[in-house]
């Protein structure tokens, strides 16, 4: 077995697709209607291109409770690696993304947390050069 798919719960799939592609810069891979929802996955143009992130509806109340509690405790639900975090931070700030702080060195990484506007906090990180 291998790790091929991971997912993130979002409060509005259409809004999420727009944010994850147009703002974050990921590429849409799948978009199938499933009942009243959609199966949407995105991949990063920086690779690996067969690792998909599903933008799942957080329609289940258990998911919603989990998501809101994590958010309120300032706990990121996913982390994306940046090659140059400062440049990524400036680019996203210019696109009106809300950050909870500037990129900060913490141990072996530099991190910055932002809101995806779909109910999640995301951690952007750049590992220090070895």
């Amino acid at each position: 077995m291998r790790i091929k798919l991971t997912s993130i719960m979002v409060d509005d799939q259409e809004k999420a697709l727009k944010f994850y592609t147009e703002v974050l810069g990921f590429r849409k891979k799948h978009d199938f209607p499933v009942g009243e929802y959609r199966w949407i996955t995105v991949v990063s143009p920086e690779g690996p291109d067969d690792l998909e992130l599903a933008l799942e509806p957080n329609a289940n109340p258990a998911g919603k409770t989990f998501q809101q509690a994590m958010f309120a405790q300032k706990i990121p639900i996913a982390a994306f690696e940046a090659t140059e975090i400062q440049r990524e931070y400036s680019r996203l700030r210019a696109l009106n993304v809300t950050f909870l702080g500037e990129p900060t060195a913490v141990g072996p990484v530099t991190i910055a947390i932002f809101s995806d506007g779909c109910g999640n906090l995301i951690q952007l990180y750049q590992p220090a050069n070895p």
Partner: protein, 148 residues
């Protein structure tokens, strides 16, 4: 936007307050005062953080709750309307039909047919944790095989 810790906590508190249902409901302006943010500024920063305005968030959380009550309980549509904080059945039904695409009573009938175990939520209407995958067409997995 760069949000400091203090503002972040106040906005999270405001979101909790918006979910609550009271007889004397706080207006958005009163709610902003409650968390000590100026009303104009409040709507702007709330939307920047949560991707939805306070008013829309309140409506959305009420409709979410209505969906659960309609699917699981033995409440009438009128009971559900009042329970989640709407005062007019007409505006509740209109809003529900617009957002959920079917009327509350049609949603209730549909959900009840799907419920296998009383009290549980049908996963078709309340999916979570990747269970939409089971209902994808086979073609959705073609790429999975190609890559392996």
């Amino acid at each position: 936007m760069l949000l400091r810790d203090d503002a972040f906590r106040r906005l999270c508190r405001a979101r909790e307050l918006l979910v609550e249902v009271h007889e004397d409901e706080l207006s958005i302006r009163e709610l902003a005062r409650e968390v000590q943010i100026s009303p104009y500024h409040f709507i702007r920063v709330f939307e920047a953080l949560f991707g939805i305005t306070p008013h829309q968030f309140r409506i959305q959380s009420r409709l979410d709750r209505a969906r659960i009550l309609l699917a699981t309980g033995r409440h009438t549509v009128t009971d559900v309307c009042m329970e989640v904080g709407f005062s007019s059945l007409g505006s509740f039904s209109d809003l529900f039909a617009r957002r959920v695409t079917i009327t509350p009573s049609a949603f209730q009938r549909r959900a009840r047919v799907m419920v296998q175990v009383p009290g549980t939520l049908p996963t078709e209407l309340f999916p979570g944790c990747l269970n939409l995958m089971a209902r994808l067409p086979a073609s959705a997995f073609r790429n999975f095989r190609e890559a392996s």
